[in-house]
Every structure is written in structure tokens, then in C-alpha cells.
Amino acid sequence: MDAATLFERLRAQFGERVGEANLAAKDPWIIVEPAAIHEVCRYLRDDPELCFDALSNLSGVDYKDHGYIEVVYHLYSYAHRHYAVLKVRTPRENPSVASVESVWKAANWLEREIYDLLGVTFTGHPDLRRLLMPEDWIGHPLRKDFVEPDEYHGISTRRESLLR
């Protein structure tokens, strides 16, 4: 199924909750409202013609100048061998997106990683904890305005150059 048909079907099903789409991009993508993503994903998985049974990738991107964080869903269907890209945009201040953990278990860790590194809250996630950084870490390192702290538990993060 190509992206244009998919976009039409999603528009017909969800109306305004599915936003604009860029069908000319290298990987054509469709924008979905943060609160609607769970429903849209469930529909994409359960509809027999679409049958997106796998969440291939989940990435977070901080677009600081535009004031939002984008969560990108790369979906794949093993049944039909087609794929789709969905994007969700959520404000940088207090970012929140509906979790798709109950749709694909793969989302559990992928969402935890984005929560950890970009600070996006996934509502409905059963176990939203930091994944890679220490649990007492302050801030979210993949944010564009993140400043590395000078020390962590008394361990300096600065190192003198050996080339002197």
C-alpha cells in the first residue's frame, strides 16, 4: 500500500486528528495528533488490509527552533511487506504523547529511551523509567539545549588535555 492511499484511509477514519502529510519525502510521512496516536496505531495494526504488525523504530527529535519535539514511528508489516512513517509533534515544554506499548511490546523500551534522552512523557506506559542514563541523572541529553554538568556524584566530567 502506498503512502497516499494510507493517508486517505487515515483521513477517512480519523478526520482532523490526522494532520498534514509529506508524500514527496524520501520516506513519506503523515502527522498524527499526540493524543490520537494510540488509536491510530491500533487501527493500523488491526485492519486486515494494513496489518502493521511491527514497530520497526521509534525516534525522538528535538526541533528546538520550532518549539516542538517530534516522535517518529517507523512501522512495518511482515504480513504485507509495506511500511509507513508517522510523526507526532508535541511542545518542548511539558511534552506528552499517548503510549503505544499496548499495541506493540517493542514500544516499551523504545519509549523509555525517548523519555530518558528527550524527556517526553508517554501517557499510559506501564513502566516509564529511565533506561540508559542513571536514574538520578538531571536533564535529557539529546535535547539541543542540554548542557553537560560539571560533575556527577563528585566525579568531574572535565578532563585536562594531555597535549600540553
Partner: protein
């Protein structure tokens, strides 16, 4: 994960008048069988695991953040560190996503060089995987047999690119160097010598009764679960899903090459168990040998790298590519804002998904099986943490 896991807690639970104790045990971060630095907090009822919660992040080196600071060409050596036992695929993934962003076509010979390097790397990585798996389970000798051959591949790859593990061989637009003189002869001679040794290896350990007893029917993963947790590569195929990115979403020159995609059949044990995962890898080594022989035969002459400007500025936009790494479908997502530096780079690796399913599959297994589960899923810790 709280630090409480480092201590041993003892709970008194009364059940049917019997006093039982559930223990919280800590495994790792330094443990001989965890293949890198990772930690499990295991709740055990005697010898049986109630849950095994992985605690990852010990090897987090913020490779994705580094990409934003070093530029497109400069990031290539860092990709080696994503998965240091199968670095060629990381090279290839990064090169391919950059090529997709900028619309660069790689010369034919360059693609063949990539496939040759990658398939040798796949054999080396699978040898490491099966060697350490039998080692973890307690057989020491086969490990040396596997590593003896892996060393020979390391020698060949060293001749190709100067490094034994962190290759930095590929470039955006092709590869850094053509095959050195005499490489094809040497490599073919190695393959001729190596192929019968797979049978020897199988005689030595694969079908050994005790080994099969430890692996067969242990940690069975159904095809539905495998897809739901996004397991990829040999782990997915062992569950009976015949899917290989090289064949089903073809890239590079794989469409010109014939090879089979082995899946778990359950001849020994059942489909999706630890033995099936091990056995798929052994069969994949044979397929890689097949691919390599065809490459040597079909390889055309010509340049190995396209003209790519040193100041590489792909047009603004994003792209996602998938590469069949030794640990399966590896996803590379890159965002360009039109400058010399990637705006964002994200890697989704096979071990990441495999780690997340461990808690589910190890519930109800014996403590000693946890080692089998980790090894059979072929987890490489740096690939989880990046």
C-alpha cells in the same frame, strides 16, 4: 532500577504452612557470561526465576549525540563502536542512510566490496556468538575451534582495511580501498578450508546430547511474540518467520546473489527455542560462504567509491534505512538540516529488542538457563546501550 538489587534480600512467605523464601539476586554488571557489561536483577524461588529484570546503560557512550557534533564523514569510525563484533554493518548502515539523504549512487564494485566485507564479518560474528554460547554453557574446547577460524577472518579483514574489529572500511559513496592484490585467492582458499570445519564443529558440540539438553525447548519464543517485540535477524527466523532484509527489502547487490534464508524448523527441540536460534546461525554461516563465492565470481571492475564532496551537506530531510546485520535488521534514522552536521541520528539495533524480551521468556526457567537465554539471543551489550 534501585541499588537495592546489589544486596541479597530474604523475604519470608508463608504458603500452605510452609516457610519459603524468595530471593532477589544480582547478576552482573561484571559477569563472565554477560558478554559485556549488563546487569540483571533476578527474583528467584529456589532455582526457578520469577522475574529477571535487565538493567542496561552501563555502556552508554552517547554515540547518537556524538553524531551531531562530528559531521557525516567524521561519524564513520564511531559507528564501529555501536556493535564492535559486527562493525561492518554499522558502517554500511550509516553510509546507506547518508547516501539516501543525498541521493548518491555507489559504484557496482564498491557495493561488491561492501558485501564481501560484510559477509566475512557476519561469519566472524556468528562464530563468536556460537563459540561463546557453548562456552557459557560449560564446553570450553569448541570455543577455541570457533575462535581459531574467526582469527583467520580477522586477518583477512585486517589486510582489507587495517583493523581487526573496528574497521572504518566504508565511506559515504563506497568503500575506502579496493580489495588488496591476491585477496580473492586468499579468501577463496580460506573458505575452501573453512567449510568442512563447520561439520567438524557440529560433530564436536552442536549435536552433543548434554548441549542439546541445555538448549532444546528452553526459552521458546513464538512467532507472534517475536514480531511484537520486534525481534530481528536469526532470533526472528528461529521462531519460524522467513524474513531477511537482504532478500525481502533488498539493498546493495543482494538481488544479484542467490542464497537461502534458514529458519527454525524444530527438528531438535522446537521452533523458537534456544537451540533453534543457535542452529540458524550455523546454517547462516554456510549461506554467507555461498554469497562470498558468488561475489568473487561476479565482481566487476571499476571504481569503488563515488565522488562525494568533502564538505558533505545533504539536503534537509530525513531518511530511514535497514541493514541485515549479524544480529538482524538494524535501523538507521538520520535527519539533515542542510548543514555539515547531522541534526539527529538514531540507531535501532537487534540486541536492543532481544534484551527487552528476556524478562518475559526467562520467567519460570531455572537460574542457570538465564545464561543460555542471553547467549542464544546473541546479545552484545554495547549495541543495546550505544
Amino acid at each position: 532500577m534501585s541499588l537495592a538489587g546489589f544486596e541479597v534480600e530474604v523475604e519470608q512467605v508463608g504458603r500452605n504452612g510452609l516457610e519459603t523464601e524468595e530471593m532477589t539476586l544480582n547478576m552482573g554488571p561484571q559477569h563472565p557470561s554477560t558478554h559485556g557489561v549488563l546487569r540483571f536483577v533476578v527474583k528467584a524461588d529456589g532455582e526457578v526465576m520469577r522475574e529477571a529484570i535487565p538493567d542496561v546503560g552501563y555502556l552508554h557512550r552517547s554515540i547518537e549525540k556524538i553524531a551531531e557534533k562530528v559531521g557525516y564523514h567524521g561519524f564513520m569510525p564511531y559507528t564501529d563502536r555501536v556493535d564492535y563484533v559486527a562493525a561492518m554493518f554499522c558502517n554500511q548502515g550509516w553510509a546507506m542512510v547518508c547516501e539516501k539523504l543525498a541521493g548518491i549512487e555507489v559504484p557496482k564494485r564498491g557495493e561488491y566490496c561492501r558485501v564481501i566485507a560484510a559477509e566475512f564479518n557476519r561469519i566472524a560474528s556468528h562464530l563468536l556468538s556460537i563459540g561463546t554460547m557453548v562456552l557459557d554453557i560449560g564446553a570450553i574446547t569448541p570455543f577455541f575451534h570457533a575462535f581459531r577460524e574467526r582469527e583467520k577472518i580477522n586477518d583477512l579483514l585486517e589486510e582489507l582495511c587495517g583493523a581487526r574489529l573496528t574497521y572504518n572500511y566504508m565511506r559515504i559513496g563506497g568503500v575506502a580501498w579496493d580489495l588488496p592484490p591476491g585477496f580473492v585467492e586468499k579468501a577463496s582458499a580460506f573458505l575452501d578450508r573453512f567449510e568442512p570445519l563447520i561439520d567438524e564443529y557440529n560433530d564436536l558440540i552442536s549435536l552433543n546430547k548434554i548441549y542439546v539438553g541445555r538448549c532444546a525447548n528452553v526459552a521458546v519464543i513464538s512467532a507472534e511474540d517475536a514480531i511484537n517485540y520486534n525481534l530481528v535477524g536469526p532470533n526472528l527466523r528461529a521462531s519460524g518467520v522467513r524474513y531477511d532484509v537482504r532478500r525481502d527489502e533488498p539493498y546493495s547487490v543482494y538481488p544479484e546473489i542467490e542464497f537461502d534464508v534458514p529458519v527454525g524448523t524444530g527438528e531438535i527441540g522446537c521452533v523458537g527455542d534456544s537451540f533453534a536460534r543457535y542452529w540458524v546461525r550455523i546454517q547462516e554461516i554456510r549461506e554467507s560462504i555461498k554469497i562470498l563465492r558468488q561475489c568473487f565470481k561476479q565482481m566487476p571492475d571499476g571504481p569503488v567509491i563515488a565522488k562525494v564532496p568533502r564538505k558533505f551537506k545533504p539536503p534537509a530531510g530525513d531518511a530511514y534505512v535497514r541493514v541485515e546485520s549479524a544480529r538482524g535488521d538494524m535501523g538507521w534514522y538520520a535527519v539533515s538540516d542542510g548543514t555539515e552536521y547531522p541534526y539527529r541520528c538514531k540507531v535501532r539495533t537487534g540486541s536492543f529488542a532481544a534484551m527487552s524480551i528476556i524478562d518475559k521468556v526467562s520467567r519460570g526457567l531455572m537460574l542457570a538457563d538465564l545464561v543460555t537465554v542471553i547467549a542464544s539471543l546473541d546479545i552484545v551489550a554495547p549495541e543495546v546501550d550505544r
